[in-house]
């Protein structure tokens, strides 16, 4: 049985996919995951999930968002005056980064 493994580096961070292990049951999957994925990289917690429990939907089946021009949804589309609140600037920066990453693909 294949178990997908998600690793969280520090308390409060996201569990992100980091690989999978082959194990007969959940207990063994946790042990293997700990050895294979929690041994070297900083780890606070691991999730193991049976692969067959994972649902997947891909870009060949559905048109995901963001492929048409919807610039009106981005903070960068609006020119305002004066200093913006720092959380607004932060949000705008995150949007710019996300947009850049899309271009990288």
């Amino acid at each position: 049985m294949i178990w997908e493994v998600f690793r969280q580096a520090k308390t409060g961070e996201y569990h992100t996919h980091c690989g999978n292990v082959h194990a007969p049951d959940r207990e063994m999957a946790k042990q293997f995951a700990a050895i294979q994925h929690g041994r070297r990289k900083p780890t606070n917690s691991l999730w193991v999930v049976p692969r067959e429990e994972i649902g997947e939907i891909g870009s060949d089946e559905v048109a995901f968002g963001g492929t048409t021009d919807k610039s009106y949804r981005w903070a960068t589309a609006y020119n305002t005056t004066g200093t913006d609140a720092r959380e607004v600037v932060e949000s705008e920066d995150e949007q710019v980064t996300a947009e850049k990453q899309r271009g990288d693909d």
Binding site: T11, G12, E13, Y14, S45, I57, E61, V62, A63, F64, G65, G66, T68, K70, Y72, R73, W74, A75, A77, Y78, N79, T80, T81, G82, T83, D84, A85, R86, E87, V88, V89, E90, S91, E92, E94, Q95, A98
Partner: protein
């Protein structure tokens, strides 16, 4: 189970997750706070929804409908974060909102009647909300903090679009400028009350902050908001109303004279007993009922046996 002392000791940003066995007091306080937040997202969206239709241009219409869609999404995220505390189910929270027991932000109890009022919500109230939400990325309930990551990512657009509407109105005709100023005067005290009563009158503040749920006090948030948004308002030519009196400190920051605000009205609203607010609650309830058949059809249709093309919400 973790005792309250340990909770307070450990209470740092994103410290607790559903894997922790937390005491009832923590879970109830967190549920109250997140449910209130979730309800507010939904009620805000309902308040703004008519202005998708009433937008003065196609650009505004597109942006405004994207914004309202975002807000409903925020509500959904937050009900999940609240539900993960194990105190109330999503169904219970939505039922409470429909039957008038669910609490939500004071600003969304007032009717929104004309386009000139729109930036009062989508610039000032969204700006205030964003100020608060940015601090909540450090709340101790991890699912709440994670929801705030996504919410803050999207909110920058709301605030800047709202500001753009304000700018357009304030550089428009004299009549438009005047009507916008009037709307501002009406909404200004409500906007200031967004942050709730002063710390000493706030019933839940001490506990929520001692367990790391709340990251900044009402007073600090309100002052930070004023520091940022008074200069903005002035820049667009809005005149700050005389009441509530706002003191400018020596360092150029501002503080508000709390006694100039109508706290009776505020607490009537907080109890869901304010007449216009009931209109908002029932309005949403009726909208819910009107589209009941859609939900039922979807539920009856699941799992879809045949190859329905799935449609991502774009």
């Amino acid at each position: 189970m973790m005792d309250l002392g340990t909770v307070k000791e450990r209470a740092g940003p994103r410290e607790f997750s559903p894997a922790d066995d937390l005491p009832r007091e923590y879970r109830e306080a967190a549920t109250r706070m997140i449910e209130f937040h979730a309800n507010s997202e939904i009620m805000g969206a309902y308040l703004e929804r008519p202005f998708i239709r009433q937008s003065p241009s196609i650009d505004r219409k597109l942006a405004f409908s994207a914004k309202v869609q975002d807000e409903i999404g925020h509500g959904q995220l937050l009900y999940r974060a609240a539900e993960s505390l194990g105190v109330k189910t999503r169904e219970e929270m939505l039922d409470d909102l429909a039957n008038g027991d669910g609490k939500f932000l004071n600003c969304f109890h007032y009717p929104l009647e004309s386009w000139v009022e729109v930036p009062m919500i989508s610039f000032f109230v969204d700006g205030a909300a964003m100020r608060r939400q940015a601090t909540l990325r450090r709340t101790s309930w991890e699912p709440y903090a994670h929801a705030m990551d996504k919410v803050c990512f999207e909110e920058g657009f709301h605030v800047k679009h709202g500001e753009d509407i304000l700018k357009e109105l304030m550089t428009g005709s004299r009549k438009e400028q005047q009507m916008t100023q009037e709307a501002f005067e009406e909404w200004w005290p409500r906007i200031i009350q967004f942050f709730g009563p002063t710390d000493d009158k706030s019933t839940h503040h001490d506990f929520a902050s001692s367990v790391g749920l709340k990251q900044q006090s009402n007073d600090d948030l309100r002052n930070a908001f004023l520091d940022q948004y008074i200069p903005k308002a002035r820049k667009y030519g809005l005149e700050i109303p005389d009441e509530p009196r706002i003191r400018e400190r020596d360092d150029g920051t501002y503080a508000v004279e709390e006694d100039d605000l109508d706290w009776d009205e505020f607490f009537t609203i907080a109890k869901n007993e304010y007449e216009p607010g009931l209109g908002q609650i029932n309005g949403r309830k009726h909208a819910q009922e009107a589209v009941d058949w859609v939900r039922e059809t979807i539920e009856r249709d699941t799992p879809a046996a045949s190859g329905h093309e799935p449609q991502a919400a774009d």
